[in-house]
């Protein structure tokens, strides 16, 4: 006889402090790591196109190392291996959260660099040419023209990276970061009610990703360059333009 699903326990666990704390921690770790990866990935992306061979090689080495190293191993390296070598990292300020943040950021930056590079390359070279013809400097063209257009291209794969990273945060449990899945495992080990306990964890992940997807679509619309009054997706502007043609 299979025991019936304990709805009461499910709700209990869903609302329990370790769960929402764990979820917040997972979200915080994901956002922080993705943000840092973005900031680090941008110069890496530019470095790949650098005129200096040394810079290109360094960027290649970075990308090669962090893509080849399993994330779990990287977490262990940052948390266990490095402090053994450098004792500064044994002090109190070096928390598991910080270690996870560093490992995930470094890892993710290698992927973000590729995404950003593809985004920059996808912008029509005619855009830069027009900027130069007007006397704009390279950084001005980058900031005003290339980056805003690359952002639109970069948003969907970055959304994917967010989701991947969110799931990877569960690996941080091995270095005793109390994220969501750690909380679920602890619950499971006391109650043995796997369906309720992991079901509740699943709900959290589903909700987080749903919210992300909503925000992503808003952001995509924000970086679609049409005037608001003309409606979002339909090429009304084109029809109006054709009508206007003399």
């Amino acid at each position: 006889m299979v025991a019936s699903f304990d709805t009461h326990l499910f709700w209990e666990v869903l609302r329990s402090e370790p769960y929402w704390r764990g979820a917040l921690l997972a979200i915080a770790l994901t956002c922080a790591s993705l943000g840092a990866a973005f900031l680090l990935g941008f110069p890496l992306a530019l470095g790949r196109a650098s005129r200096q061979p040394v810079v290109r090689s360094l960027v290649f080495l970075y990308s090669w190392f962090f893509r080849a190293t399993p994330t779990l191993l990287l977490l262990i390296i940052v948390w266990d291996v490095i402090p053994q070598q450098f004792t500064v990292f044994t002090q109190n300020w070096f928390t598991p959260f910080l270690a996870a943040f560093i490992a995930l950021s470094l890892n993710e930056a290698a992927y973000m660099a590729e995404i950003i590079r593809a985004g920059l390359l996808a912008v029509d070279p005619g855009q830069e040419l027009a900027g130069r013809a007007l006397g704009m400097r390279r950084w001005q063209i980058l900031r005003r023209v290339i980056v805003p257009q690359a952002v639109r291209i970069v948003i969907p794969p970055t959304g994917n990276e967010f989701i991947t990273l969110l799931k990877l945060t569960s690996l941080a449990s091995v270095i005793s970061v109390h994220e969501l899945l750690t909380a679920a495992n602890e619950q499971a080990s006391v109650s043995f009610s796997y369906r309720e306990v992991y079901g509740a964890a699943l709900v959290y992940y589903l909700v987080i990703v749903s919210v992300l997807m909503f925000l992503q679509s808003r952001l995509e619309r924000r970086f679609t360059f049409r005037s608001r009054s003309r409606g979002a997706a339909t090429p009304v502007g084109l029809a109006a333009a054709a009508h206007d043609a003399r």
């Binding site: 029509d124 005619g126 855009q127 040419l129 027009a130 900027g131 130069r132 013809a133 007007l134 006397g135 704009m136 400097r137 001005q140 005003r144 023209v145 805003p148 257009q149 970086f223 360059f225 049409r226 005037s227 009054s229 003309r230 090429p235 009304v236 502007g237 084109l238 109006a240 333009a241 054709a242 206007d244 043609a245 003399r246």
Partner: protein, 247 residues
Amino acid sequence: MTETVLRAEGVHKSYDGLPVLQGVSLEVGRGEVKVIIGPSGSGKSTFLRSLALLEPVDAGQVYLEGEQVSGLKEKELATHRSEIGMVFQRFNLFQNMTALGNVMVALRDVRRLPKGEARERALEFLARVGLRDKADNYPEELSGGQQQRVAIARALVMRPKAMLFDEPTSALDVELVREVLDVMEGLARDGMTMVVVSHELRFAHHVASSILMMDEGKIIEEAPPEQFFSAPSHDRTKRFLALVEQP
């Protein structure tokens, strides 16, 4: 004799050892309109880009109002580029900006004008190309002809010493060509110094001070329109004119 605005002297340019420009010289006086024609691959576009200082030349010089402007450092080049207006075949409007934004951006970033002033002047120039009411539209909401007119306004607003047009109508549907040519004719009438790469021979006939024939990286013939069309001296020109529509 009118004052020379733009002058190129013996411009050479190769890509991977392949010669594209083989000693091209040109002199454009104030208010003159020079139309360059020639088969594809003859180096017209490359030459125009050299004049716009977008393409470093291997040998030869470009002078703007008597001052040598080729072969300078990037910073000085950028300054001189802003004094030469360039209009591209494919418009190259900044896709992330409205028509107004496109016309304003270099006034802000290059000329360092305050926002209000830049906006005012940009709107004035949009009005000049008849697109004041499209100020808030993004490029993809405009027809090709309208986009090209915005691109002309974007170049004009910098008050350039000369305007360069690289096949400005060849990416346009036939019914949109006229509106762009009208704007260009207006500019010519107002005394703008222009170099136009185009196969709009009717436009060339009406507007050009002289027409230049380019072939294999050289200017092989230059003559006033009447003479160019009625009595071309070069055989290559005769053959080329026989292939394209007569004005």
